[in-house]
């Protein structure tokens, strides 16, 4: 029962805090432009161009491709494209961790689906007569094996790389080692907990018990694993590992936001709103004072 509460609570906290962080960033004051090219939505994306390449740009429609923007964002989210292009050796281990996390998320969902199937009489096993049962069974195995292996390998390798790379270790704080170690230990305990049953039948059974608040006997290792995963899920969104939230804003709301302040535009309204704000804090240097008329 306690493990069920931990599981539910940590997922709720993970999602809740992540959404709250996104809400906080979204509600931040309107800021100045900081476009950085290439901007994917621009017509001239291939060469890094923008609407400023046109004469009388303000009088022409701003042609944008939101599809390309989404594609570029997906490349970044799914493949960590910039790291791949600019620092390949690091990409291998960072991508192992991230791909591992994606697969573990998929695996977790598959375990829940599998548990639900079994509760409803659909067998999830190699000898299942249900195609869905077979699909969930094999997908669970693929995502589980690869996800746990890549996640543990990636977090472990990142930890070691930070610990032994002469440059990275100068910039890595003990907390950042802790972050990686927490993920690593949570995954390793998972591997030991679920590794005894390579069909993940035990994992599905436990998931079913957790989801339905059914009391069950949990050994020390399983308890440790669930508690660690609970801590990890709660800790990630309050730490800088919540960069999955920030990344949306850094690209879409900062580097790729080049919407001009044209008459009648939404930007114009935001500029007006921002202009009416009176800050409660002010700078103290002697030259900070209202603009004066220049001497004729």
């Amino acid at each position: 029962m306690i493990l069920s509460i931990i599981a539910y609570l940590s997922i709720v906290l993970f999602l809740g805090i992540s959404v709250y962080k996104a809400y906080q960033f979204a509600g931040m004051p309107f800021h100045g432009r900081m476009d950085l090219y290439p901007v994917p939505k621009e017509k001239g994306y291939e060469h890094g161009g923008s609407y400023f390449e046109e004469t009388a740009w303000w009088s022409k429609p701003h042609e944008v491709s939101h599809i390309r923007e989404i594609i570029e964002m997906l490349k970044e989210i799914i493949f960590i494209k910039k790291l791949f292009e600019n620092q390949r050796p690091f990409w291998w281990i960072s991508y192992a961790l991230h791909l591992g996390i994606y697969l573990i998320m998929a695996w977790t969902i598959l375990l829940v689906i599998g548990a639900m199937f079994e509760l409803n009489g659909i067998l999830v096993a190699a000898d299942s007569s249900s195609i869905l049962g077979l699909l969930v069974f094999y997908l669970s195995i693929v995502t589980g094996y690869i996800g746990l292996a890549l996640g543990a390998l990636g977090s472990g390798m990142l930890f070691l790389r930070r610990a032994f790379d002469n440059t990275l270790k100068k910039y890595t704080t003990p907390q950042e080692y802790f972050n990686l170690l927490l993920i690593f230990v949570a995954l390793i305990t998972g591997i030991f907990t679920w590794g005894n049953d390579l069909s993940f039948g035990y994992a599905r059974e436990v998931t079913g018990n957790l989801v339905t608040f059914t009391p069950f006997v949990a050994d020390g290792l399983l308890t440790l694993h669930v508690v660690l995963v609970g801590i990890m899920l709660t800790y990630i969104p309050i730490s800088k590992m919540s960069h999955y939230v920030g990344k949306y804003f850094t690209f879409h709301k900062v580097l790729w936001d080049n919407n001009p302040n044209l008459k009648g535009s939404g930007v114009e309204q935001q500029v007006k709103n921002a202009a009416s704000f009176r800050p409660t804090t002010s700078w103290s240097a002697p030259h900070i004072k209202p603009p004066v008329a220049p001497e004729k």
Partner: protein, 533 residues
């Protein structure tokens, strides 16, 4: 003094006389790869060490940052910095709060940005100039003073830095070892921008502590707000200059040029960097010849704030930037033109079209000169003969115009059309390297700073230039032209070519885009570019 390889962010608080010494610059390309082709880097003078902060790398970027005489002054200096540091996260800084917090919070320290930095690269991968080094020092100070985790957990979360006069002064100096070119931000997998943090440090020094390099502040924005131009050029002097240029143009080229000034009913108000009239007058002359030849209805303004496009506030002080941008826009609107065209000045492009874009409503449209110039060529409104420019030409991409505004093609389209021997630098376009003069470096000439600018900040650019002209450098009879359509970039080029004596030795020339266009005009009887005579 530390070996730069051992340098850690928390070493900024050490009591050493100088943290590191530059001694491992990357080699220059041929013909500058031979021994004796470059003067060695110098040590700061003993008197400077006593007066300024030379304890970072020996260079002095902030000439107004002087050592305290008493313990009270030292404490007050630290207190003011911390006060400013707190304010950058307050509503006094609303205009950058979101981007700042994102870049401040989320750095994964993957170190992908380092190789993108031309200063870090030029200095032989020097730890001090690693983009995240500066950012990490700032984070440590913030954590130590302004976060609960830092107060309770200290070194565990990275709040392990000693904060004293030396730490803060070094951090201030280090903020002037970055050109704010934002090339590093292009590579960040999380979309973070170290240049934002660098500029925030500069802002704290200026907006809270009243400390900024004299060329940017006292002789920059303050002078501009007072007289209308950072050059100090008054209205009568401006008009005299134009008159002189008209006479000179007629004398040299037989062209009866008349600069339209304060012309009623003009469509376009052209804004030049006023420094052009003094340092490179051929540039505004070329603009006038081209605009007249293309039949544009244009004018210059002689109103205060109407004849200088610069806005140095962009580099160090948001309040100054806003004052200047607002005053410039007011002059233009009062004038009644339909649009503003920014001439060849990179930071003025960004200041008036990007930064000022969200500083008010009902603004006049602002346009870059570059698409307009390409339009003149493309539409054949100018009769041009490319054979007049039959010498090697390469293009420097000003960071503000290209990487930060996305104006990439028009200028190279012009060059491809009028320069048969045009060749690109590697890399180019939005990936190009800064000239080393960005963010104020080009005009910061106090103490030994020009040495840092020329031999370190501009070093990668110089190699790009040498690479572009590979195989032609030794042929001194052939001029090689670096087209830099930006006043500050030209300032950096001037320093570079003078330092390496490259014009004298190898006939390496530099200038803007419009000069090449005028040189190609069929109607011009003699070369517009002096070095062709």
């Amino acid at each position: 003094m530390l070996d730069q390889k051992d340098l850690r962010p928390k070493d900024m608080g050490r009591s050493d006389e100088q943290l590191i010494k530059l001694d491992n610059l990357i080699p220059l390309l041929t013909p500058y790869d031979k021994p004796g082709m470059e003067s060695p880097l110098t040590d700061p003078k003993p008197a400077w060490k006593e007066k300024y902060c030379t304890s970072l790398d020996g260079y002095i970027g902030i000439d107004t940052l002087t050592r305290p005489k008493t313990k009270e002054e030292e404490d007050e200096f630290v207190r003011k910095f911390l006060s400013g540091l707190e304010k950058i996260f307050s509503d006094a800084n609303n205009g950058v709060l979101q981007p700042l917090l994102l870049s401040f919070e989320y750095c994964a320290k993957c170190n992908t940005c380092s190789d993108a930095c031309h200063i870090y690269t030029a200095a032989g991968n020097n730890e001090l100039y690693r983009p995240i080094y500066r950012s990490e020092v700032l984070r440590k100070i913030v954590k130590k003073y302004f976060t609960t985790s830092g107060k309770f957990l200290g070194g565990f979360v990275g709040a392990d830095i000693d904060v004293n006069w030396e730490t803060i002064a070094r951090l201030g100096e280090l903020a002037y070892r970055c050109n704010l070119c934002r090339r590093c931000a292009q590579t960040c997998p999380l979309g973070l921008d170290n240049a934002i943090l660098t500029k925030e440090i500069r802002k704290i020094f200026s907006q809270e502590m009243g400390i900024a390099p004299t060329p940017l502040h006292t002789k920059g924005t303050m002078l501009q707000i007072k007289t209308g131009s950072s050059t100090g050029l008054s209205k009568p002097a401006f008009l005299d200059t134009l008159e002189f240029l008209e006479e000179d143009t007629e004398e040299k080229f037989g062209i009866k040029l008349k600069f339209p000034v304060d012309k009623k009913g003009a469509d376009i108000l052209v804004l030049h960097n006023a420094g052009e009239f003094m340092a490179w007058p051929e540039n505004p002359v070329a603009f006038a010849i081209l605009f007249d030849a293309a039949g544009l209805n244009w004018t210059l303004s002689s109103e205060i704030m109407g004849y200088d496009s610069v806005n140095y506030g962009l580099w160090y002080d948001d309040v100054q930037a806003k004052k200047i941008a607002t005053m410039q826009m007011k002059v233009a609107k009062d004038f009644g033109v339909k649009r503003l065209v920014v001439a060849e000045c990179g930071h003025a492009h960004k200041a008036s079209m990007i930064t000022a874009d969200r500083m008010g409503t009902d603004r006049l449209p602002v346009e870059s000169c570059l698409p307009l110039l390409w339009d003149m060529v493309k539409s054949k409104r100018l009769i041009l003969d490319p054979s007049k420019n039959n010498f090697p030409v390469t293009l420097h991409d000003p960071c503000n115009v290209v990487r930060q505004m996305g104006i990439v093609e028009p200028q190279r389209n012009v060059l491809k059309a009028i320069c048969p021997q045009f060749r690109e630098m590697t890399p180019h376009g939005v990936d190009n390297y800064c000239c080393g003069g960005g963010s104020g470096f080009a005009i910061m000439n106090s103490a030994n700073f020009p040495e840092f600018r020329t031999q370190v900040a501009s070093r990668v650019k110089f190699n790009q230039i040498l690479g572009a002209f590979k195989g032609t450098m030794e042929d001194t009879s052939t001029p090689k032209y670096i087209c830099a359509p930006c006043s500050n970039c030209k300032g950096a080029m001037r320093g570079l070519l003078e330092h390496y004596d490259a014009t004298e030795k190898y006939n390496l020339q530099y200038g803007g885009l419009v000069e090449l266009m005028v040189n190609a005009l069929v109607s011009l009887k003699k070369p517009f570019l002096e070095f062709l005579e």
